[in-house]
Symmetry: C2
């Protein structure tokens, strides 16, 4: 198909599939070519160079006349690929930013073409059923003993945590309280604080975490000191962003229960351990939480978004229920049309469930568990390799899930502030040179002091020992170069 | 590639493109076959039959061992396609649920494969630049005279409205107020009320709308009567969900300003009129709003999600700013790494901007404006056809954007309640028989009474006169059948 007809062709219907066949070839060619031009985990040169590269043919975000479907796909997909930080590259270990499975990415094409919207049955007849089955299965995995568990699909851990707090606020209100008091550890993800702010809740109580972990004694002390009238929701973490630490859930659940508080677990990172025979025991007592955040776009190899909020009892979701007569009129519901509005805080909603469903079915519980195990092993190998590297030092303590903290020995040889600056500069140098994406995290050293560490979050089950050794060499070399290059404070060159 | 290697292959990297090539063929075949098996705008039989069809090989949402990538894609994409409500079918006109452009759907494949996350530069180097250009262009379209307009990409109109209210609440707080008073017309989308609830704001003041439109005099009266201390945000609508009505923005802006209130416009549906030479004048004074909701997954032919929130001044977004040291540490920002956390209430965020960017570039302002004009024309033709149909009656008044309300004459011949029930039953019959997806809306008749109407939301620029005539015939026939079939109240059979 040529010209205007191709540009305005719809994705579905009779003409849809052949047009999509043609256009996806353009996309795949642009992806291949873009990756080749990039030639590494991320583009070289830093933000300004990347911006110039993207805009090399001028910023034509909204031209008066179009350039056509093929040109637009080719140029923009090409630009995005040339300038991508590729999570499938073993040197790209900076964040909880996973390389997606090809099978999941392919499913996204179907979601886009069929475009069901999950807010009413008559926009998503079959997608609704798939979502019901998948959320039932995931809820059952989190709450194997609960009679009526349920789960929602969300846009990510941030939305899951927001909805968890919203539901807790509404339970508190339904019980006659004015508001809800949120209590969390200093190791919690920032989205918990942000959710409390968004929801108009009082300032949360933050419990200090000496070693990156919420300690039961510290929680006990905080809850004992609390004299407010509002019911308390304790938010704990299974897999912190900085260190991959899993809070001691059984003990924390016991403390919370003793104080009459509910517990929510943010298991955005660690929740996938449920799939692993070897590691599931790290999540013992997860089901004592009223709600649990999971996120399959972290350790789950899904393209964003693939968030989940599991709740202990489906009746907890009643607080989200409302009627909008164009979507779930009472007589339609009575006549058997499903009412879906209590399944999200969004209205129109893409079928993120499809890629999850396809991945669960393609790999099964055991197959996904294997991938989890491989990432944990890769992290252990990485940590082991750091300990054997003369110029690098592993942070003392256990590897949290698949997160490894380390720093150049050179940083330890400097006064503490300069040492931390060196760590930050090494990270930025590797980014600017297009060599590696590493993360950064403040965490305590054996002395109890907070230090800045390089963070490797290993989510690529296919990374091998050679890949890892190369990352370590890059870091060591960058530390040498950065240290010997004259630099102004706060800048790496 | 075969077996296990294919199942666990990653979407990017060296092996990515060939695997995606193989798997997208499976997807496209399943889409084609599913559409053929469905053979109409939606599957037959209603919710139970569709559920049985999806589960015909058993509910295997989470098997212990996987079935492999090809089987999983083939079976689940097939099931979703067989059981889809296809917005590209001209008989599918129930909702603001658009048929996506093939070019936009193809772009989604690249987004899924590259999987950039928009919360930090080092997860999305080039995608960040594309988002900046597109949001600048869209902000400039909404606010052509503002010196520093800006726009955020959101998950849809619901999130846009939520963020608009959140920003207004924070402006109120920054000015020393305790809270914000939201005032809106009864014609506003339910998400405005839900946002106020989510944010912990006081119960909004709802201004009655006699004829589906927020009248300046009624707003003036409400604001005059308001004696509270909290600053007021007036929410108006450009394109109501039920009737496609555009509130009289210039007059409402004047009333709001006279009372010292700010105005937000929910133009989720109507905002795309900005692209049209013929219809842009309906949005005169849009830029007197502090913020504007747009939604390109409605009249914009994007797969969900493609929401936008435009703001008059980029400094308004400072209220979303915060620091999370792993994403936007101060020294990284100082060294030139962009800080993106004030661009969303989400953290991890998919690059919904890519498909928008590709569509804007492929079609240009004029090309998208043409599609808008065609949808408006299709709606006018549909309305015209209704007036000539002996068994159907058009709702008196103008066609709102591309929304047409009508009902069978047979419904008018019944007592009002039974007439409304007939309308609802006709809609359900067409759904159950898999013949058409029509919407429903309560709206006033010439008598001033509220009646239930069938709603056609015409978002398919390729629908022609023959398609529309067929929809009308289906409705007329269904009204005859439904009326003569014995039925219990509230059920259609």
């Amino acid at each position: 198909m040529r010209g205007h007809a191709l540009d305005t062709a719809l994705a579905e219907g009779e003409e849809g599939a052949p047009v999509l066949r043609e256009l996806t070839q353009v996309v795949l060619d642009a992806l291949t070519e873009g990756a080749r031009e990039r030639g590494g985990p991320l583009p070289c040169g830093g933000p300004e160079a990347v911006a110039a590269q993207v805009r090399r043919d001028g910023s034509l975000a909204l031209p008066e006349r179009g350039t056509g479907a093929v040109e637009a796909l080719s140029s923009l997909v090409g630009a995005m690929a040339r300038g991508a930080a590729d999570p499938a590259d073993p040197h790209c270990v900076g964040h909880l930013h996973c390389p997606p499975l090809a099978v999941a990415a392919a499913a996204e094409l179907a979601s886009a073409a069929l475009n069901p919207s999950m807010d009413s049955w008559d926009q998503a007849p079959a997608a609704t059923v798939i979502e019901e089955d998948v959320t039932d299965a995931l809820a059952g995995l989190v709450y194997p003993r609960a009679p009526r568990p349920d789960a929602l699909i969300t846009s990510g851990g941030t939305e899951s945590n927001l909805v968890a707090l919203l539901l807790a606020r509404e339970r508190a209100r339904a019980a006659g309280a004015d508001t809800l008091q949120v209590v969390y550890g200093a190791n919690a993800h920032h989205s918990v604080h942000r959710a409390a702010w968004t929801l108009g809740l009082p300032e949360p109580m933050v419990v200090e975490c000496g070693a990156g972990r919420l300690e039961p004694a510290a929680l006990d002390e905080a809850l004992t000191a609390y004299t407010g009238a509002a019911p308390v929701l304790v938010v704990t973490t299974a897999g912190t962003t900085d260190e991959g630490v899993i809070d001691p859930l059984p003990e924390l659940a016991e403390v919370a229960a003793r104080h009459g508080a509910e517990m929510h677990v943010d298991a955005a990172y660690g929740g996938m351990l449920l799939f692993s025979d070897r590691h599931t025991r790290q999540l013992a007592c997860l089901d004592s939480a009223v709600s649990v955040t999971l996120d399959m776009h972290k350790l789950g190899w899904q393209p964003v978004a693939a968030g989940i909020l599991a709740v202990q009892d489906t009746r907890m979701l009643e607080h989200l229920a409302f009627e909008a007569s164009y979507l779930n009129a009472g007589d339609d519901t009575q006549a058997g049309l499903p009412d879906l509005l209590h399944r999200s805080i969004r209205t129109t909603r893409r079928p993120d469930v499809l890629k999850i469903a396809v991945s669960l079915r393609a790999l099964g519980r055991a197959g996904l568990g294997d991938l989890v195990d491989r990432c944990v092993s890769v992290a252990e190998e990485f940590a082991e390799a750091v300990t054997h590297h003369p110029d690098l030092r592993l942070r003392p303590g256990e590897v949290g899930i698949s997160t490894v903290l380390f720093r150049p020995v050179a940083a330890d040889e400097l006064p503490s502030r300069e040492g931390d600056e060196l760590v930050a500069a090494v990270r930025r140098k590797l980014l600017t040179d297009g060599q590696a994406v590493l993360g950064r995290a403040w965490a305590v050293d054996e002395s109890g002091d907070h230090r800045l560490w390089l963070k490797a979050t290993l989510l690529n089950p296919q990374a091998g020992p050679t890949d890892l050794a190369r990352v370590l060499k890059l870091v060591a070399d960058a530390a040498t170069t950065t240290r010997t290059t004259p630099r102004t404070r706060g800048e790496d060159r």
